[in-house]
């Protein structure tokens, strides 16, 4: 098209061009067909799913919708200050001896009159569960990920075993591990720690070995040419390269683990999740809103700290998700 006049739209095409044109049209048709078919399939699946979900729910969606707003309207503290009192374990003017207003009871005394409010203490338990699980997960995933990476481990069988191991740990339902340990150790955070750690090993292991596989192999080649053994190759050829990414993923995982240990807490792992489930189950509005406030601030704070740390470690590529 070097000439200034463009060919008209219906200008006859040469045979070769027509063949290309036909082929292009054909491709376009197939793609449209697939798009339409995929969309239809999705719609049918969605319709069936919605019908199924609605019919197997205890209350049907549209029947329950008005009550949902009822719940919100009724679920209010006596006055806004009650939320603050519940949060800091201050005595309530509404106290009538019931569990609803027994804010002071949960105080954890550190020394003399100095106390930690109950929900702050429980939040601390949950954060500690998350941190220690991340540490455990980091250590094991670090050690095992090299056995799953194709550029470090030559044996197909070892790699296969390591990868399937990570997969099973990732997919194994956390509540089962927690529930099993609660049955043995009685209710407490140890079950939650083990459950979250197991999942973390699987999730971090997968991310780690992908990082190792994407590492630059030139340092490794250099070391190999000098006759370094396997351990030396990993230590000096890979670890310095992958460590920032590893730590970044671990921090990301810690954010996720704070949420995970909250949920696990609600099913018997202790910590803030458990007190939250109890307070909403007993209709204690002030306590519930106090916990939501605390959780909200904590999660945002942790996300922010870990985000800033990750940005320092690996720069702008920091924002990625891990399952």
């Amino acid at each position: 098209m070097s000439s200034t006049t463009l060919p008209r739209r219906d200008a006859p095409l040469s045979n070769e061009l027509r063949a290309v044109h036909e082929h292009y049209r054909g491709l376009l048709r197939t793609r449209r067909l697939y798009t339409v078919l995929g969309g239809l399939g999705l719609l049918v699946a969605l319709g069936a799913s919605l019908w199924f979900a609605d019919s197997s729910n205890a209350g049907e969606f549209f029947d329950r919708l008005p009550y949902f707003f009822d719940f919100f309207i009724h679920f209010q503290p006596d006055e806004p200050m009650e939320i603050v009192r519940a949060l800091f374990d201050l005595p309530s003017p509404f106290a009538d001896g019931s569990f609803k207003y027994d804010y002071e009871v949960g105080r954890v005394y550190l020394s003399g009159d100095l106390y930690l409010p109950e929900y702050f203490y429980q939040m601390l338990v949950t954060i500690n569960i998350a941190v220690i699980s991340t540490l455990i997960g980091l250590v094991f995933a670090f050690a095992l990920s090299f056995f799953a990476a194709s550029n470090v481990t030559g044996s197909r069988a070892v790699r296969f075993a390591a990868r399937r191991f990570f997969e099973v740990l990732r997919a194994f339902p956390e509540i089962v591990i927690a529930g099993m340990l609660v049955a043995i150790l009685s209710i407490g955070p140890i079950g939650a720690i083990v459950a979250v750690s197991v999942h973390t090993i699987g999730a971090l292991g997968k991310l780690f070995y992908e990082v190792v596989e994407n590492a630059d192999t030139r340092p490794d080649e250099g070391l190999r040419s000098l006759g370094a053994n396997w351990l030396e190759r990993v230590r000096y050829g890979f670890v310095p390269q992958v460590l920032p990414n590893f730590v970044s993923y671990a921090l990301l995982r810690m954010e996720i683990n704070v949420r995970a240990s909250t949920i696990i807490g609600a099913v018997g792992g202790g910590g803030i999740g458990e007190v939250f489930r109890l307070s909403i189950g007993r209709d204690h509005a002030a306590k519930t809103y106090a916990i939501i406030l605390l959780l909200f601030v904590t999660i945002i704070g942790i996300d922010w700290i870990s985000g800033a740390l990750r940005k320092r470690l690996v720069g702008q590529s920091a924002f990625q998700f891990g399952g």
Binding site: F61, V176, M180, A266, F321
Partner: protein, 447 residues
């Protein structure tokens, strides 16, 4: 690295040329040991914070082995009761049907029985006037008196006496507890009991060939329906395994993840265009939308779930709503970031031929971000299939609730194992589907 031959001169030269490698500042050199020290101190703190020694001491480890064994094995529990005139064989909560007649219990006389654990060398003989435990081929007569049983002379380590009861441990095969009123035998077998048909079913106790025969040529057990239908119903409504209910709950969990993620992806798509700085010029709109995403994301999925459970009642709807709310926030945030990183040249190209803003977005922006959007949505679908299990446990329905119920009884660990197996299969299938679609999307380079 002993093979590396280097003269002292060369080495000194290297050191001089790369001081940053050989003489790192003190701060950097101390970094690793310091991190290790802090981590260690933290571990010690946690050890006492969570009171690990007390928890370990108070743990019921004997239960652990029983619970674990229940995952893959089951127990038959006959009781041999001493009556005035002899011994009665009784079955409690029998998994073997109404009138079990297993080949490991033999009636050796009018009032005497032998119960065998893997062979005649490990068995127990019960008759009105004597109880003889045979452990590893050696016979031990256990004296049973009115006030309780006593240990025989030279009893092996596998026999123990507690509160007038002698327990003979036969390892995995089970145990026998001798009391003054009865001998309680627990015989453990490998596998899941009555997985296909419960004892009330007409097909109970048949092997595969017999079932096939009954279904194809056999006479009808129930005149109202063909045997094949009866078989399907007996299987699905198996009282111990509740297959139909388990599949139903599993489907609920899958539906929760699917619908929740789909709705979230559909809503996050338009909202992220509002939130992206380079797409819509309204600063207040950008800011408001981004904070809305943060709010949805940071109020945890658990909180949404518990709220919606209170509102809608237990079932998959609160689960869908919880996933929908959380993931609208998360997908909105990732979508916005993808949008803010688009290549401007394509938009300018479309704009330069005089296209309207809608067309600019359709052909200049969407083709670039669509693969990222879809692959994020698929990723969350995959991960929500896992988290829907946990959400279910707090009341949002699905397999999670069923798992929690099965675990609460502390007896149905084989059902827990069954459900875990099903969950693992489902998660693997969905992982593979999602990663296959994702690799195709990324591989095709975004249309």
């Amino acid at each position: 690295m002993s093979t590396l031959a280097m003269s002292a001169h060369d080495a000194a030269g290297l050191r001089a040329r790369h001081p940053q490698v050989f003489h790192r500042p003190l701060r950097q050199r101390l970094m690793a040991p310091l991190a290790a020290l802090v981590t260690f101190a933290y571990l010690v703190f946690c050890f006492f914070f969570f009171d690990v020694p007390a928890v370990i001491n108070n743990a019921q480890w004997d239960r652990a082995s029983i619970y674990l064994a229940d995952w893959y094995s089951w127990e038959a529990t006959p009781r041999f009761r001493f009556k005035d005139d002899g011994v009665d064989l009784e079955w409690t909560r029998s998994l073997l049907g109404d009138k079990p007649n297993p080949d490991w219990i033999e009636k050796t006389g009018p009032q005497s029985y032998v119960s065998r654990f893997d062979g005649p060398d490990n068995s127990i003989e019960i008759s009105p006037d004597s109880v003889v435990a045979i452990v590893g081929g050696t016979r031990y007569a256990i004296p049973v008196m009115a006030e309780g049983a006593a240990l025989p002379a030279g009893a092996p380590a596998s026999m123990s006496l507690k509160g007038g009861r002698v327990t003979v441990d036969y390892g995995f095969a089970g145990s026998a507890e001798v009391r003054n009123t009865q001998v309680y035998v627990r015989h453990r077998f490998f596998g899941w009991p009555n997985f296909f048909f419960d004892p009330r079913s007409s097909f109970f106790g048949m092997d595969a060939g017999q079932v096939w025969q009954a279904v194809t040529v056999g006479e009808r057990f129930n005149p109202d329906m063909p045997n094949i239908k009866l078989m399907a119903l007996d299987f699905l409504y198996n009282a111990e395994w509740q297959h139909l209910d388990v599949y139903d709950k599993l489907l609920q969990t899958i539906v929760m993840a699917f619908v929740g993620t789909l709705f979230a992806a559909l809503l996050a798509f338009p909202l992220s265009f509002i939130a992206a700085r380079n797409i819509s010029a309204n600063r207040a709109g950008n800011w408001f939308m981004k904070r809305a995403f943060d709010l949805l994301r940071s109020v945890d999925m658990l909180i949404w779930a518990l709220f919606f459970v209170r509102g809608f009642g237990p079932g998959p709807i609160p689960g869908i709503a919880a996933i929908f709310f959380t993931d609208t926030g998360t997908l909105g945030k990732t979508n916005t970031e993808a949008l803010e990183n688009v290549d401007d040249r394509q938009r300018e190209g479309v704009k330069s031929v005089g296209a309207s803003p809608a067309v600019v977005h359709r052909y200049g922006v969407v083709p670039q971000v669509m693969p990222v959007f879809l692959s994020q949505a698929l990723y969350f679908w995959e991960s929500n299939t896992r988290s829907a299990t946990i959400i279910g446990a707090v009341g949002a329905g699905g397999i999670g609730l069923k798992l929690i119920e099965a675990m609460r009884t502390n007896q149905d660990w084989e059902n827990v194992a069954y459900m875990v197996l099903l969950i693992l299969i489902v998660v693997f299938i969905f992982d593979n589907i999602s990663s296959a679609i994702r690799s195709r999307l990324i591989g095709s380079g975004g249309h």
